[in-house]
Symmetry: C2
Subunit: 236 residues, 2 copies
């Protein structure tokens, strides 16, 4: 398969502009694209598709790429399959997945990206690259018809991965405890991507990028730290 | 209605034993009970029904109340309707709700508690007291047949409510941002219960207890702080 995918933990680093830290990478990733298709369905903070698309267009203008929101098309499936490149932004994963199913584009989106159309996901848009959305951090604000997602990689993602705060007195579950609960019922590997990390998927090769380590959770095993540059193609 | 319910944010305060801070309250709440029914379905950290029930039994032994897990009964519906008192513990809300539906006891549990059987919920066991489980903090580790829950109060709960950490550089959504996203699609009030707070529901009266304030989120309104002792019966 000719996959060409960036799966980023976050769109924005603390103190930085939207997509700023990724722009050098995106310039290369989308080098053959004059215009990309943006999927704004996750609507962070409930903002409209129009507002969200305008924000994305401002960021991509810096690398001379135009952006069109999928909501501007009459036929969403054709918009996906004809796109030069595709970006799915962050927000609420339950909402994003519900909308992908409601608009009947989950399958065509997976097929199009597997065929080689360059794809970028951030946060919720990265969550859906895994086998299921079941390791999202988001609130279930809407009931999706299924938790199954694009399956562009053979494992699940936990974007915005957060290490336990050892000074905290809060008794809510840590991120690691939540992933352990996931593994009590599912045997899919989970990759915790810290903010500033991303995965680069080129064909059959999946590489951890950025300066940070990622945390890999395998069922019934102690989690391990993965170094930047590691090839994760061995994960099944 | 003769409701007699405690809806607690957490089972355990930092540095305290399991249920310790609530025991004086529970002694009164379950004063007519020699034995209570425990619903261990939420399985925190994936522990077994047996282990979880043993932990709860140890805590309730301190106030001379026996505990029997619902998994020890042949007929779950009869166990619920005949119980002297009922406690649903915390863990994963998706798992808890899935199990309540799978075992066909969601409706009988709601009816039994509305009829006056004393009920205690902590964390996930509190989440299900609201209209829906859609303001849980938990990961969707299992796909439930519905997000609709017991509706013992006419609003939703957010247990383990956490104020934004103003010193944090993490870019994941704050709890308040997540509840704002919920309100973009739902017009149900949401009560954020901080750890150490609980609601006492007696008949038609719902009172905030404990020493802390709670944070009330109404759709399209700025959230407000609610003082301990406030009667929340006006919420619809």
């Amino acid at each position: 398969m000719n996959k060409n995918i960036i799966i980023a933990s976050t769109s924005t680093l603390h103190g930085g502009d939207y997509l700023e830290y990724l722009l050098p990478e995106l310039r290369l990733h989308f080098k053959h694209c004059k215009k990309i298709l943006f999927i704004p369905f996750a609507r962070p903070g409930g903002i409209s598709h129009e507002e969200y698309t305008a924000k994305v267009a401002t960021a991509f203008a810096k690398i001379n790429i135009k952006v069109k929101g999928i909501h501007e098309f009459e036929d969403f499936s054709t918009a996906v399959s004809n796109a030069e490149g595709i970006f799915t932004g962050g927000g609420n994963t339950f909402l994003l997945v519900s909308q992908l199913y409601k608009n009947k584009i989950m399958t065509i989106l997976a097929e199009t990206v597997k065929r080689g159309t360059p794809y970028l996901g951030t946060s919720a848009g990265s969550n859906i690259c895994g086998l299921t959305m079941q390791t999202t951090n988001d609130m279930p604000i809407i009931y999706p018809p299924s938790f199954i997602t694009l399956g562009l990689v053979p494992f699940n993602l936990n974007p915005h991965y957060l290490d336990p705060d050892t000074t905290s007195t809060h008794m809510g579950e840590t991120r690691e405890a939540r992933i352990t609960e996931f593994h009590a019922f599912n045997n899919v590997p989970v990759l915790g991507l810290r903010e500033g990390s991303w995965l680069e998927v080129k064909g059959d090769q999946t590489t951890l990028k950025g300066t940070l380590q990622a945390r890999l959770f395998m069922p019934n095993q102690t989690p391990v730290e993965i170094e930047s540059g590691t090839d994760l193609s061995y994960l099944k």
